[in-house]
Symmetry: C2
Subunit: 282 residues, 2 copies
């Protein structure tokens, strides 16, 4: 049981943390922090949070746990402010899609003031954004990857893990580098592919969009994801995204080579292997 | 109302034609034709078809309407046999994902014997295959693209269009070349992208597959599609698929260039445009 839980950035993820914490009786009081008071009034009126604050310093006063849920680059800047303002015993985590950056900021700040920070990344989300689409069950049966390092306070590992488990998630640990490579492959690369599919058709065969059926819709659903959030994610993880693009282009080239040579047996063998891999996902 | 409807190839699409025709009272008798008697006994026992035949010549005797629903290359071969055997007044169509090939075969055969053929492509399907996943409502509110040419018998256009409408579909007409380019863009290219995504992750970051969440799953759902069917589709439409790959690689390159130069405003503007395009799909 947390006394005061502060969510900085009350959108899909931050709002869902608040709702899940409320439903699970995880926190006595939930504070929502954001830049724009008007945008915080919806979550307040909806009972998602008990109090709101537009000043981060004031918002995290007496916090027992702070969850940073703004964009990746905003989280890094906010962490500097929060680090000075939260009580010594507070737990701090974030929900950003890349982890090397914020973990590096935390380790730098910890030299001046030791504090219980652990990076988190809930593998849950939607192409929709905003507190209106937040759900109390967003994390239920979802995986949250946490990214401890040798420098992480064991109390933070224990406390933040317990928080996510209380919100219904399964917790897995990866080091920040492995995390960023992993999500480049299974999240950022599929987003890039979805955007490129929409772009390719819109630019080169726009009339075809009128015939888009379920295959195109499912494959490109995430192309409608929040642009400012994803701008930050892609720029924070550019090296890993580009490495995954090298692998993706190699895979495209291999399939195209089989087509170009009319290698029917080779095409069928490749598709059979990939069908098995896809169906093997847990 | 059709007297005898013959479905050649009783899988997802052929089985769904039979079920929808049955439910809509569209045909008095439905015959299922396939190579393997044992595999036809399931649809027969399930009441999906009234009779089965493994001999195509015998199966299409006295047919009023024949729907070819095997793979693209098998349909072309079957069309030659059927063309000789069906009554003069019969309507013939197919459900293949590429149309230039079978329309060319039909036009060649029509020189020797005029017959009512119209190519069809229902924009409905699934990554699952087989008669067990056939559904009476598969075509409801789906688009069926038909591909008449100047040489097509107007009676076939009218009759086959009426059949699809009776099964619940909306019918649009494209010439075979435009059809093949259109489906390369909105169906074949997304499949290729889905296979390449699975392949890239499996080969270069296999540990990441354990963390695949909804984004990866939706984007790659169609990577589990039937390999023999898709081997044929890709090889029948290789030129159009490769042209769409040129457009796709150009779109990937453009996005990567913005990342490589750290162009945050450019990335956000591109993602904003693509989100609007994706959300604009009817």
């Amino acid at each position: 049981m947390i006394g005061r839980l502060v969510v900085v950035g009350v959108g899909l993820l931050g709002g869902s943390v608040a709702l899940a914490a409320r439903e699970g009786g995880v926190a006595r009081e939930i504070v929502g922090v954001g830049r724009d008071r008007q945008r915080l009034e919806g979550p307040l009126r909806a009972g998602m949070v008990d109090r709101i604050a537009t000043d981060v310093d004031a918002g995290v006063q007496n916090a027992d746990c702070v969850v940073l849920a703004a964009t990746v680059s905003a989280n890094e800047q906010l962490l500097e402010i929060i680090w000075r303002s939260v009580p010594a015993g507070a737990l701090v985590t974030d929900v950003g899609s890349t982890k090397r950056g914020i973990v590096a900021v935390a380790e730098r700040l910890a030299v001046g003031r030791p504090l219980g920070f652990l990076g988190s990344h809930p593998m849950a989300g939607s192409e929709k954004s905003g507190w209106q689409v937040a759900r109390a069950d967003l994390f239920r049966a979802a995986t949250v990857i946490v990214t401890p390092t040798d420098a992480t306070d064991p109390r933070a590992i224990k406390g933040v893990t317990a928080l996510w488990e209380a919100l219904g998630a399964r917790v897995s640990a990866l080091d920040p580098e492995t995390h960023d490579r992993t999500v480049a492959a299974i999240s950022h690369l599929p987003h890039v592919a979805a955007w490129a599919l929409v772009d390719a058709v819109a630019r080169f065969e726009p009339g075809a969009l009128a015939f888009a059926a379920r295959g195109f819709r499912d494959t490109t659903r995430i192309a409608a994801s929040d642009p400012p959030m994803w701008r930050d994610v892609l720029l924070a993880n550019t090296d890993a995204v580009r490495a995954s693009l090298v692998a993706f282009r190699a895979a495209l080239d291999d399939l195209e080579r089989l087509l170009a040579t009319g290698d029917a047996a080779g095409v069928e063998a490749l598709l059979t292997r990939l069908k098995a891999t896809r169906e093997g996902l847990a």
